[in-house]
Amino acid sequence: MSQAVAAPGTRRLGRQSVAFARPPVILGTGAVVGPMENQGPLAGSFDHAYPDLLAGQESFEQAEREMMLNACRTALQKAGVTPDQVDFFLAGDLLNQLITSSFTAAELGIPYLGIYGACATSAQGLALAAMLIDGGYARRVLVACSSHNGTAERQYRYPVEYGSQRKPYAQWTVTGAGAAVVASPDLGSGPRITHATLGKVMDLGIKDPYNQGAAMAPAAADTIRQHLLDLGCRPEDYDLIATGDLARFGKEMAAELLARDGGLDLGDRHVDCGMLIYDLDRQKVHAGGSGCACSAVVTYGHLLRRMAAGELRRLLLVATGALLSPTSCQQGDSIPAVAHGVVIER
């Protein structure tokens, strides 16, 4: 079979992956979080932590905007660029019509595309940014995503003050925002995005909106399997394979599926952003974190720091998203899920 060659040196790999000819670099990142995230094991890893959920604003929605804008400004500042030097802004969040992203884009004044991949938005943005840059359509791209416990819970589930017991497999929406400036390699240095694998939507019929981990696990397993197949590599080729936010139960399911259908054992190499961000035993978040911000702030605040410190050389980030809508769930539909992978190298 022939492999379509899009631009000189730019290659498609296998069914779902691309390899970047001149891997774009991450020039600067911004990771801001709410109070709970900064009380977990990653406390102190973030650029800014707000003392409360309102972040000095009048509503949780405004607080989420403030967080995304802050993350973007931090990333721009660390990259040493101004908004007018950035070609495109790709951003997504969980709120209806991506309202957080649109307001942030209005503040920044950078040409903007809203992207939606639920909690997979972080990797979706990085992959798209790298494609735009490596394809020659942009020199610098700002990517961002955000989520907020107070805005997401009321949209997907119950008011925050409603007294309901959560199931042990339920996840806690992370409050925060992550942003990164991705640029052509001749414009600076930083961690390089070498490959991307875009996922297929998987729907294995899970209907419980609290059980997002189980709904997303098949997508994560499928994307990881396909990624390794497309690139012809093994799990051992990575120092770390970080899934988005499957949390405790979802991670267990993903491992089970990888072993069952692909004979793959990721072992200790496999970590999950939803489990890294909170202390699961102490913080009463049940299975772990979720939300767009989860994989973004863990990657930018924690994993890339470890990479800069020389602890990680090659990282596969597989961000997973449960693409449910409140309406689809109430009408008894199952939860479609997607997972996108990007390879980040030192």
């Binding site: 079979m1 296998g14 069914r15 779902q16 009048e58 509503s59 929605e61 009321r154 119950y158 008011p159 925050v160 003050e161 409603y162 007294g163 309901s164 017991q165 959560r166 199931k167 042990p168 497999y169 297929k200 998987m202 729907d203 294995l204 019929g205 899970i206 059980n211 189980a214 098949p218 499928d222 396909q226 197949l229 405790r248 139960f249 267990e252 399911m253 089970e256 599926l257 009463k284 299975a287």
Partner: protein
Amino acid sequence: MRPVAKKPVKADQRRYQRLVQEREPRPPRLRNACAAFLSGGAVCVLGQALTDFYQAVLGLDRQAAGNPAIATLIFLGALLTGLGYFDKLARFAGAGLAVPVTGFANAVTSSALEFKREGLVFGIGSKMFMLAGSVITFGVVTAFFVGLVAAVIHR
């Protein structure tokens, strides 16, 4: 040869759902049941104490004294919700706080609070019964038909 990606089929879905069902972590059922029993019982004892109190102080008969007692419990539920304690207590007590009338107060108050930012009319006014509405709807529909049948039989 590039492998063709398999589409999940129904059998796959069934198999996965079975797996999830088997492995799903269960809630601490015994602990939850005990907590619900104890806290639910305690709220009802409080309701009874309030009834006795109003009976003695206001000189009402037992049935009439139930009204201010219920109103007091609702007040407490609304207040605890507003102060942000109800959801934390309910995380422990579960049905023990949800089933008594305090749960009804919490459902009303938490919805009203949450949608306050959408304004007095579209927010508080119309969202107040977002969660508690179904209890009223089903209660009234049930009562309508039960009442109708009983009224016809008794005539």
